[in-house]
Symmetry: C2
Subunit: 207 residues, 2 copies
């Protein structure tokens, strides 16, 4: 099967969410037209996306919600569990820990690190908080592959250096700073600043 672009994958994750809602409501079937309305995308795009996974639908009847969800999920979620390490358990870090994950067994935050001594040793949502200097040792032990930067801008580079040292292969960065990282490490920057958040909204509003 041909490799899917990130764009398609992120739409597929959206389809999965919506299919779960429909299944919860005991809907057995759904048409591309209805999915279009629910997602804001076009029906053609949805059929095209789904067609990458095979001939799953039935003319006149649409798709089986359950079958479609299973097929999409099987593809999107890797076979092996990926372990993640969280750096920073402030408001943002805690929000991430508590955010619902729909397949906890495939992606798992295995440890969290903090500099605040009052938080060390605590367990938030099942995840234990360690001091930052233990990171290299613990990350190796738990085989974490991806690190999440949820510390303030002033601490982020320092934390990232430790992450690199610990052998992480990917970094999800919530800190609004430019990170110096060896290029073999994948970095995904996520910007929660008002400028970014409002971007698409306000462009549409002001257009």
């Amino acid at each position: 099967m041909e490799k899917l672009s990130n764009k398609i994958i992120s739409r597929v994750l959206l389809y999965i969410r919506i299919l779960e809602e429909l299944i919860k409501k005991n809907r057995a079937r759904v048409s591309s037209n209805e999915l279009a309305k629910l997602t804001g995308l076009s029906d053609v795009q949805i059929r095209k996306d789904i067609s990458k996974f095979g001939k799953i639908g039935t003319p006149r009847l649409g798709y089986s919600t359950r079958e479609l969800k299973n097929i999409l999920e099987d593809f999107v979620l890797h076979k092996e569990t990926i372990q993640l390490a969280l750096f920073g358990v402030g408001n943002l870090g805690t929000a991430i820990l508590k955010y619902p994950a729909f397949k906890k067994d495939k992606l798992n935050i295995a440890a969290a690190f903090e500099k605040d001594k009052n938080k060390i040793g605590k367990i938030v949502n099942g995840v234990r908080i360690y001091p930052i200097d233990k990171a290299p040792e613990i990350i190796k032990k738990i085989h974490a592959e991806i690190g999440i930067v949820a510390v303030g801008a002033q601490d982020s580079q320092e934390v990232v250096d430790i992450m690199v040292l610990s052998g992480l292969k990917g970094i999800i960065n919530f800190s609004p700073t430019f990170l110096n990282v060896p290029k073999e490490i994948a970095v995904r920057d996520i910007d929660l600043s008002l400028e970014f958040l409002a971007l698409y909204c306000s462009v549409k509003i002001l257009a």
Copy 2:
């Protein structure tokens, strides 16, 4: 000037960030090549993006960091201040309130709403927290245009109904649920689930 795509605008916001860093380090000039290294983009793309704003660079010398930053900022940030209203002051809501905004006078969270009575009346980062049922009244008073959904999945639809009622024109949704919203309201969904966060990272890692 031709209208810019969201893709370009979000790169422009990145350029502004990096230019600010460079200015802080007293760098007067920067080449497209150096910006390419700092952003991970190609030098051609950077020159192409910048060329949309005019002939700003000087062959052999590159761009003036200060001039470029001012021009980009002037364009990206609208003239008028946009007021926002935040719904939900839990961990995520608090993180958003505290996240650094680089032009606070252009985008401003003017009020926050909560159902938790213990939080009502408090002020977080300069923003007062009101009970949710006051939302329609207060939103009209402060002329808020965009609302941020930072409540749990189970409360999100209820909160959104109030937002629609209050006359907001745009919604930034952090809740991992599908929202029922009249189509004249712009919705931007932001997914903080591990699946989404790890998406690009893990695809790259596992590729």
